[in-house]
């Protein structure tokens, strides 16, 4: 059974539809990346999943819970979200306070709280910054604190909502490394982005356009599909351009494909 299921979800801001009859199923342990240009409804989707917005029609299920007014708190406990702006999700006065914020909300007892803060600050490499204030941290460090705060709540699904879009390359690479790490640990990841580089390592790419899913599939297939990406107003990554070029000239060897794939991963 899928860990997260969306069935015919429809949502509109006023008269303009933002999500149109969207259906999606995410399996446990799967890393799914939703890509789409600005205004394709990606972030609306996050808000629908954790009930910050209510869908006009359709059904959202997490494990065996159907999202409704009475289950929204239970579902929020199962889903952790890392948002785009590192500053606007840092609630605590210090790193320690911020990681503790979610735990305080879940009424985790004090000794366990301390333990979890230590564990997850270490997991994201922020254990030496526990007493630091947000103004003393870089954007990437703040995002890592947000991840620690989310992981400490032991969610079943972790959603990255454009979490790297405000970071410098270094911060973005660190975030990607953490996501790979989480995948290895068997966590379910739903990553939402307009940056195709972030879709390289995942299990499945879902291309969104104007509130609907255009296509979904393995990254090696989707990321090379120039016509599809063009339709979704996304640009092909450079290595895949060469790959397609070589392929059209019937010169694409396995070796070339491997080299170009490797070079894409370093982007």
């Amino acid at each position: 059974m899928s860990i997260l299921t969306l069935k015919d979800v429809f949502f509109s801001y006023g008269k303009t539809p933002a999500i149109q009859n969207l259906s999606l199923a995410v399996e446990a342990g799967e890393w799914v990346t939703i890509v789409g240009p600005n205004g394709s409804g990606k972030s609306t989707l996050t808000k629908l999943i954790i009930g910050l917005l209510a869908a006009k029609s359709g059904e959202i299920r997490v494990n065996d819970l159907t999202l409704s007014e009475s289950t929204v708190q239970k579902i929020r406990e199962k889903i952790g979200i890392i948002f785009q702006n590192p500053d606007n999700q840092f609630v605590g006065v210090t790193v320690k306070d911020d990681i503790a914020f979610g735990l305080e909300n879940l009424s985790v007892p004090y000794p366990e709280m301390i333990e979890r803060i230590d564990t997850y600050a270490k997991a994201v490499g922020m254990d030496e910054y526990l007493e630091k204030e947000p103004s003393q941290l870089s954007g990437g460090q703040k995002q890592r604190v947000a991840i620690a705060g989310t992981l400490a709540m032991h969610p079943d699904i972790i959603i990255f909502d454009e979490a790297t879009s405000m970071l410098d390359p270094e911060g973005r690479h660190a975030m990607m490394a953490i996501m790979e790490d989480l995948k290895r640990q068997g966590k379910t990841i739903l990553s939402i982005t307009h940056d195709l580089r972030e879709a390289l390592r995942c299990d499945r790419v879902v291309v969104m356009h104007e509130g609907t899913i255009l296509k979904s599939g393995e990254p090696s297939v989707i990321l090379r599909d120039e016509a599809l990406l063009k339709q979704a107003r996304l640009t092909l990554l450079e290595p895949f351009k060469y790959m397609n070029e070589l392929s059209s000239q019937k010169r694409l060897t396995d070796q070339w494909e491997a080299i170009l794939w490797e070079s894409a991963l370093t982007l």
Partner: protein, 321 residues
Amino acid sequence: MKNIVIGRYIPGDSFLYRMDPRVKLIALFLLFVAVFVIDELWVMGGALLGILILLPLGKISLKKVYFGLRPLLFLLIFTFVFQILFNTQGRLLTTLRLEFDPLNTAIAGGLFIAWLFLKRFTKFTFLSFLGVFAAILTVLSQLTIYLPFGTYTIAIYEEGLLFAIFILLRLIIIVTLSTILTITTKPTDLNLGLERVLKPLKVIKVNTEEIAMIIGIALRYIPTLLDEANKIILAQASRGVDFQEGKFKDKIVQIISLLVPMFIISFQRSDELANAMEARCFVPGKPRTRLNQLIWKPLDSVVLAVTFLFMVASIGVRILW
């Protein structure tokens, strides 16, 4: 703009720093009550002496306390003079005579106008002007005895003087005590202490935890918003807004060009923050466990007992003396 200090907390270590913020707040309240109750000069003097002993023990320099008092200097002088001038109870102590005639008034007026001009060019301060003015006035009042323009007498009464001294000492003690509190307590600890101390208000449906959360988030976002304000100032300056110079009318336009984007940004921020908090299972009013635990130490009990006894003693003196 990094590492901006909110409040007046100055890092340090002494028993005042180690005290529980709850105790500090309760002790402060008890001492406030005592200071308002005291009506004997020797008790008040004793309280002041106590504070003077407390400061070096708590490793707080007089200079820091003075910085706390400085913004209130005008208020202190004003209330003191006001009491002396207008309180006419008790025994008449002494009278001061001030005489005005055309000559010295004209000279005084001329001096004032001269000062208005001079202050543009020199660092001739208002206080030094007053000094010169008073000196000349005294000399003149000795020289010209005829043609009185008007004579004013200032009568000082015993009660008025006593009252003035009491009010002055009260204000000084209260401000000094609050300054000690803000210097030795981190804003977050103060917030936490306040939340715990005000907990009994829950009986009358005041949600102290929510208030503390609001104050906490405000404390957290002051540096971020200051940073934002600086960015906007730079952005507007690069578009030709000059925040340094200009007439009053221009200043208003400049401030609007800062305030409007600040408001919009703050609303966006708070919206995103609310989403992030809800996503992390925050439900207003729901019971939460807390990371910051306050630990009651023996020292706290001692301090609380001493201040409580002092308050009781001051009430006792007031009733029995």
